[in-house]
């Protein structure tokens, strides 16, 4: 589903990611762990094509995304779901509108939007908050809304970059459970985190990074650092 082949990314003289290779199969839940500056966020940025790899190949669903043209990026991004630490909801749209927006950009029909958005909001427990704006929500609620937005177009891959970084323990576990549920429904989940407790509890595959390199890749792994 996702494959990194000898990928490197340099920012000037700094090698953020160096010769990284790994493969994620269908339906996997993978935690990408490591201390700050290990290269986790760079991997996420490369995967959503916010940044371009200096060398190597990144293959997603059979297509090398390093060769995507600028005009192809929107179509690629509609096939993946991304969740950020800082939620990144559109501040002047309601929860419903934020989720609907992900469908509207792909010219989805009104009837499809009216059917899917409430369903997804119900799934993440945010249906009652549909008409609220992001600033009227708690951190946990904002992250649920962000997850709903990432799910609404039914992506096969969910990339979560420190999704619990701004949340309290209760909300943290609710979000992790939600990601787990999404994974059980068949989507690949790549969770970039440095939260040891989460990783150790999940008992799923763990890719550990340090100084831009992969130092461990364990099935049912633990936080090693």
């Amino acid at each position: 589903m996702v494959e990194f082949r000898a990928v490197s990314k340099a920012y000037g003289n700094i090698e953020a990611v160096e010769d990284v290779s790994f493969r994620i199969g269908k339906g996997e839940f993978v935690s990408l762990v490591g201390p700050s500056g290990a290269g986790k966020s760079t991997i996420v940025k490369l995967l959503i094509r916010e940044d371009q790899a200096t060398s190597g190949q990144i293959v997603v669903a059979g297509r090398d995304i390093t060769t995507l043209k600028r005009s192809e990026l929107p179509f690629y991004r509609r096939k993946i779901g991304v969740v950020f630490q800082d939620f990144r909801l559109l501040p002047n749209k309601t929860v419903y509108e934020n989720v609907a927006f992900a469908l509207e950009v792909s010219d989805a029909a009104k009837s499809e939007i009216q059917q899917r958005v409430p369903m997804i909001l119900e799934m993440v427990g945010m249906l009652s908050r549909s008409d609220n704006f992001p600033h009227e929500l708690s951190g946990g609620e904002q992250q649920r809304a962000a997850i709903a937005r990432s799910l609404v177009h039914d992506p096969k891959i969910i990339i979560a970059d420190e999704p619990t970084g701004n949340l309290d323990p209760v909300n943290t576990w609710e979000i992790i459970e939600l990601l787990f549920k999404i994974n059980q429904q068949g989507a690949v989940v790549l969770l970039a985190t440095h939260d040891k407790e989460i990783v150790d509890t999940l008992k799923k595959r763990v890719i550990t990074m340090r100084a831009g390199r992969i130092v461990a890749d364990q099935q049912k792994g633990k936080y090693l650092l």
Partner: protein
Amino acid sequence: MRGVRLLRIWSFGWQGMRRNIWLSVNAIVTVALTVMSISVFVALNGALNETRKSFEEKLDITVFIKETAAEQDVVNFVNQISERKDTTEVLYLDKEKSKAEFMRLNEDDPELLASLEDVGNNPLPRYVQIKTDNPDILSDIDTFARQDQFLPVVDSTSYKQTKDKITQFVNFTKFTLKNSLVISAFFATISIIVVFNVIRLAIFSRRQEIQVMRYVGASHQFIRWPFVVEGTFLGASASVISLILLYLLALWESSLVPIYFPGSGINPAALYGQYFWVLFWSNVGSGILLTAIISYIAVRRYLKEQ
């Protein structure tokens, strides 16, 4: 599908303006004042032109006739002046008409009229009033009237008394009209820079929004056009406000003109009505076009990112 997309772009643009109300108000006020300042300048230019025309229509030279001049010689002089193609009107007033005109012009000053009656005989001279629409011709007419052949007829002319003022005014209007293009270009440039920066700042403050739109897979067109539509809404609102402000200004000026320029015949409010559609289309057109183009350019910067 294209219709659905257009509708969404349109509604996002409208939503963007409504929900970023303070940014929108700031942009609308700035654009309105900028468009209005251009309109005021154009209107002032027009008013100056009207004043010049009105002034030129009233340009005349009065030739006073000697008491001793024979009536036939005066008629001969009037005929020769009338044959000139550069005069628009030649009016001869004999002593009776001259007195009647004097009384008409001074009907509000009974003391002056009473003193005229006290004199007994009509002391007012005969004169010829010659009108032209070209201020440069006045000196020619003066020279013509002062020819030796008219020495028995012509006593004096009014040209000398008014020459300096006429020359000064004519030079001033010529200078202003000639420079209006440069001044217009200067004003327009400043306006574009001001509006550009206001819109750019408004879009800069929403750059994260643009980034989020890109993350969820919005195409460049889908991100850009709502901002352009929003820009057109801002421009249209600003233009309508500028038209209202301009009307209020014209009303206010209409009350001032009779005080500062009595007899000028200029009525800004009436001119506003007369040129309303020109003002409307130039304000709304330039307002919408300006904000739409600037929005298009300002968003482009954030679309260059991956």
